[in-house]
């Protein structure tokens, strides 16, 4: 089977800092991959390079067999690479409906979905449990609901690869359980790349884990392999048994 996403020698420098250094990465369609690593390890920079929010200093990104290194972010989104933000950035002054209508109408324009905008919006909101808040302003939602809205917007893009950047950050424990279910549900129709600090979430969700440290991939494997890896324990897991 061909990998959905591959990076070859992907690097990004910020001045003298090698935020991402020579990363070779591959993930298969349908998997849930977690990217973990200490703060400043280059996780967010890495997914930003994949989504096209920033340009690499060198190396290439291949999505579904095509080189997308030089495509702007919006064109990658149209190919099916969706990114949800680490810091919640829903459109606070727009209604929940309008927030989701934007990605839905985009996929309609691209011919990646059919039907009315309203149908698509309601489908995404029902999946995330926000259907009863359609006409509220997004800024008036609770933080947890804003995170869900962020995911609903990602879902409405009909992604083939959904990148979730720290989705459970700031959520209460009760909300996290629902979130895990939601990600499992999403993974039935899309490949999920997840940056996450919450280790129980990672261990429950991920098929495979990639560990970043100092801009490089330190280790990669199943949750059990990563748990047993002494290098990873030294670099990151520390107290976690």
């Amino acid at each position: 089977m061909m990998p959905l996403l591959t990076t070859k020698g992907l690097s990004r420098n910020f001045g003298g800092l090698r935020a991402v250094a020579n990363v070779d990465f591959a993930m298969m369609p349908g998997e849930i991959r977690a990217v973990i690593g200490p703060n400043g390890a280059g996780k967010t920079t890495f997914v930003s390079l994949v989504s096209g929010r920033i340009q690499p200093s060198s190396g290439m990104v291949v999505f579904d067999g095509a080189d997308i290194t030089n495509l702007p972010a919006y064109a990658r989104v149209r190919l099916g690479v969706a990114y949800t933000f680490q810091i919640t950035s829903v459109f606070a002054n727009l209604s929940v409906y309008d927030n989701v209508a934007l990605p839905v109408q985009r996929t309609l324009t691209d011919g990646r979905s059919k039907g009315a905008v309203r149908t698509g919006v309601m489908a995404a909101l029902e999946r995330t449990g926000l259907a009863d808040r359609t006409h509220m302003l997004a800024g008036q939602l609770s933080y947890g609901h804003q995170r869900l809205l962020e995911v609903a917007m990602g879902l409405a893009l009909k992604p083939r690869l959904l990148i979730l950047d720290e989705p459970t950050q700031g959520l209460a424990d009760s909300e996290i359980d629902n979130f895990i279910e939601l990600v499992r549900d999403i993974a039935r129709s899309a490949t999920v790349l997840l940056i996450e600090h919450n280790m129980p979430v990672v261990m429950q969700l991920a098929d495979r884990i990639t560990v970043f440290n100092a801009g490089k991939i330190l280790a990669e494997g199943t949750p059990e392999q990563i748990r047993a890896n002494t290098e990873v324990q030294d670099a990151y897991l520390g107290a976690t048994p």
């Binding site: 064109a75 459109f91 934007l102």
Partner: protein, 320 residues
């Protein structure tokens, strides 16, 4: 923010148009003429609002789009002897072409840099008008002669210098632009424009090419402003460089802020309000600008989102 039923906003807008139509028959001559002028300039403000209100791009150079229409139509009549419809079309085309070029260049910047770049381009446009004084009349401007301002339909003809014809022409342009604006802002495209205003980075990550969307908005905005300028030249018969000066880039901003940015009817209300404050106060004192200034300060204090913007926020959430 947006009500599901489209009936209310359309009824309101058609009501406003009907009211303006009815006013034509009851207003005394002086106010009749003033209102015709206000409607044409409100079109200018609506064009400005398209970009400033909905996309959040503050341009300080829209006088150049207005004057592109003004001169495009005026010069076509005066030097080429074109008919009224042809000259009107020429004015609009000049504005569309100019806004496309300026948009491609100016949209490489944003924020304060965008303000400065648009202002500089407008200043260049203004100086070019002065430089080619032999064609443009320089700072004196030119009068479009009355015989050239007659619209012929076979045997019958419409004289645009006739007050009623002028008022109705202004109303026709105003209504068209108002309904077009309403349709645009309620469309999917309008939703994208607002999204760009609220968070451009996020909009990109939803798959939108924000540059192209903004460029289209600049062209729509510039074209509407040019339509206003072309109508001004043909209806009021004066083409002058003062309309290209920086003052006429700032006026539409004031009108829109007064009436309410990102409201479809705000530009009309703002233009009307400003014109009448100046008109009424200048009848009492030569220091009328002082009173205008105080009125503006009071407005900013008590109606920070403009007249209609505040009404929408407090009472009528469905206003487009």
């Amino acid at each position: 923010m947006k009500d599901a039923s489209p009936a209310k906003p359309y009824a309101l807008h058609l009501g406003v148009i009907a009211l303006l139509f009815a006013l034509s028959f009851v207003l005394p001559d002086y106010h009749h003429g003033l209102l015709a002028r206000i409607m044409v300039l409100a079109v200018f403000a609506m064009g400005y609002n398209m970009l400033f209100g909905y996309v959040g791009l503050l341009s300080l150079g829209h006088a150049m789009f207005f004057s592109a229409g003004l001169y495009g139509a005026g010069l076509a009549v005066i030097h080429l002897g074109w008919s009224v419809p042809a000259a009107f079309a020429a004015g609009i085309l000049c504005g569309a072409a100019l806004s496309l070029v300026i948009g491609v260049l100016a949209l490489r910047t944003s924020g304060v840099a965008f303000m400065i770049v648009t202002m500089m381009f407008a200043q260049v446009f203004y100086l070019v008008i002065l430089y080619f004084a032999s064609w443009t009349g320089g700072d004196q401007g030119m009068v479009v002669p009355q015989p050239a301002r007659v619209l012929g339909f076979g045997a019958t003809s419409l004289d645009l210098t006739n007050p009623t014809v002028r008022y109705m022409s202004a109303l026709a342009l105003f209504s068209t632009v108002l309904l077009v604006t309403l349709a645009v802002v309620r469309s999917r495209y309008g939703r994208v424009l607002v999204a760009i205003r609220e968070n451009e980075e996020r909009t990109k990550m939803l798959g939108y090419d924000t540059f192209s969307n903004k460029l289209a908005a600049v062209v729509i905005s510039g074209t509407i402003c040019a339509a206003s300028g072309a109508a001004y030249a043909l209806l009021f018969g004066y083409v002058g460089s003062s309309f290209a000066s920086v003052q006429y880039s700032i006026l539409p901003l004031l009108w829109v802020l007064l009436g309410g940015a990102a409201t479809t009817l705000g530009p009309m209300i703002g233009t009307l309000f400003m014109y009448y404050i100046v008109d009424i106060t200048s009848g009492y004192t030569s220091a009328y600008l002082l009173i205008v200034g105080i009125a503006l300060i009071l407005l900013v204090l008590f109606f920070p989102k403009g007249i209609l913007g505040t009404i929408r926020q407090r009472w009528l959430g469905w206003l487009p």
